[in-house]
Symmetry: C2
Subunit: 382 residues, 2 copies
């Protein structure tokens, strides 16, 4: 296909191979790892214009542009490209698949050198801090000492926050979108139910489904359905589906199907074909475990004290998984820690999924903020 003119065009995937032992927070080592990534735009001579994109639960490295084999662009193509908010005419953008992922980076599907079998459920626990450490090694490999911005939504926003804490001198700005400083009990509960759905599938075999030539696709589909409903809003779903019927008549009972039901089943099935259940388990655990203030006596202000980045914190009115209140907690802590912080609450009916959508005010906020970052961080130093 011919990519549209405002896209980054055809893209290819690259691979970073790290061949030394990598110590994880859980106490285990990886003997080395690979990260697949894509880059869009050009790194300037001063290497000051790099942006890191961190993906969420089910994301991957293909954030923008097109593959020759596919008509669908990357997951954040609406925001990344020439003239778009994350402007490839200005910035050099790096997007990777995180450690533990199932799209090419070292994860449960990779061969464990110790056994010559795929890791499967034996892949070690990975936490947000591990991702950030591995991303820093990727930055070293690319010659990027300091990112102009680290940007992410949801679990990606948690990585941006962790970057500001762990590598204060390597990140000029952190864009924390639709995120939280830690999950609530309700968030953990939904993740746990998703995990239980996977673990309850008779084809799960305690995570060793590949050895049995099986796939817990029903369980993974259910997990996705649960996630999907909670990423939307009641109002958004009402607008999209209402009580529209696909078949049957509720006043008669019997075989009735509402549109929202067949939509959800389709979402679940499609997801279970493109995602690995062990990775889903690992990613939801990383979400649950994220709680940087835990090591600082639950004091988020103290946790953020060392950060040097500028912050932009964005939330969406109808997002009830990572509500406006959760973003306000981050903003309040940053203000109390006397950091440079801007924030925006974007009106939207699309729930948590809003962060992936080209909502005009949202896009505008991103564009304006990143233009300023470019001026302050990239142009000035020229």
């Amino acid at each position: 296909m011919t990519p549209p003119a405002d896209s980054v065009g055809l893209v290819t995937t690259q691979k970073f191979v790290y061949e030394q032992p990598f110590a994880l927070c859980c106490g285990r080592d990886l003997p080395g790892f690979e990260l697949v990534y894509e880059t869009y735009g050009t790194l300037n001579a001063e290497k000051t214009n790099a942006i890191l994109i961190c993906h969420a639960l089910s994301g991957n490295h293909h954030a923008a542009g097109y593959y020759a084999s596919d008509t669908k662009p990357g997951w954040w193509d609406s925001c990344i490209g020439p003239g778009k908010p994350i402007d490839t005419q200005k910035f050099f953008i790096v997007s990777l698949n995180n450690l533990g992922g199932c799209h090419g980076s070292t994860g449960p599907l990779s061969i464990n050198p110790a056994t010559q079998q795929p890791y499967g459920p034996d892949f070690p626990t990975v936490v947000v801090r591990d991702w950030v450490a591995s991303q820093a090694l990727l930055a070293d490999h690319l010659g990027v000492q300091k990112f102009a911005a680290v940007i992410g939504g949801s679990l990606g926003g948690m990585q941006a926050m962790q970057w500001s804490i762990d590598f204060p001198d390597r990140i000029a700005s952190a864009l924390v979108i639709a995120a939280a400083a830690k999950l609530s009990a309700q968030n953990i509960a939904f993740n746990e139910i998703a995990r239980q759905a996977i673990a309850s599938d008779a084809s799960y075999f305690s995570g060793r489904y590949n050895e049995h030539d099986k796939s817990p696709s029903k369980g993974l589909g259910l997990a996705r359905m649960i996630g999907h409903v909670t990423y939307l809003s009641d109002d958004g779903m009402r607008e999209k589906f209402g009580r529209e019927l696909k078949s049957g008549d509720p006043s008669q009972g019997g075989d009735v199907e509402f549109q929202v039901e067949s939509y959800l089943r389709h979402q679940g099935q499609a997801f279970s074909q493109r995602f690995d259940a062990n990775t889903y388990m690992l990613m939801t655990k990383a979400l649950d475990f994220f709680d940087p203030a835990r090591e600082h006596n639950d004091d988020l202000v103290a946790t953020l004290a060392a950060a040097e980045a500028k912050f932009l914190v964005i939330s969406f009115t109808s997002d009830w998984r990572f509500s406006v209140a959760r973003s306000k907690e981050i903003v309040n802590a940053l203000v109390a820690a006397r950091k440079n912080v801007a924030s925006a609450i974007i009106k939207s009916d699309h729930g948590h999924d809003s962060f992936l959508l080209p909502i005009p005010r949202y896009v505008n906020v991103l564009k304006t903020y990143l233009n300023r970052i470019y001026r302050d961080t990239c142009e000035v130093k020229k």
Copy 2:
């Protein structure tokens, strides 16, 4: 055990046997049916002081008092008893297990006379209107021409509303608590995921699990966990569980268990042992299908035009499954239809489950309202 003095004491279950064919809205007939029920208090000579309690998704006929074999009282014992809001010194209270239930009334566990096997998944679809019609037959049996009140929370509130529409001259007041005039797409979505969880269980056998001597307990447990989380509120869960750990250390990863996770798993397991999966399927469908305005061109005002009852509509601030806005829709329609309607929005952190809890203002509203109903409907006629 010795029941507390403010309880209705030891109670026993009675059975109403209806031996004629009963036509259901789905077009199928039951050759007859049985309803198990309990009564508390005494029917007055004029038979004007009867109250019908309608149960919700997972409820049953044991609403108050104690069984000799059990230390736990009925599910609404906090509100039903001598001196309590639903006062057994004043009212004669009837509480039944609905058709399609799994606690003794005719349902999927009953023998189908045509096959001499349990109905299982072949039990016909039952809608709220069918329940109300069968409850009216029970009222006939008890000699109750007109209920002083029909009361229910959630799916029970829908029955109270349907009563006011289908039998306007047989109900003096309808107490519609934490309900909605119809489910939203989000509500249907959660119910569908619960059904998918059950149907995905390898022990479900398309509902014929009993024939295989199996039980889809994992799927039913999952369904309950999904329901349970959505019946609580984010704030309520934060207060109850926060991020309290049962074991492990999230910053280390590995085997970590949050309190909320083990709580949910316990809830799911316990429920799967006391409830029938086919009944759960049937009850969630009845919820989805409820939409009395559908037959009136989606005009709720026109739907309620014939109602003669007084209405009390109660909602709870943190209930996001059946939100305050949903109750307001009912109140607005009743006002527009020029009905006698009172309403209360009760502040509570306990989500949808609030309707089962003895929240002081809620209890007080119920008591005051029912005292007035007693004065107007029962005493005056003496």
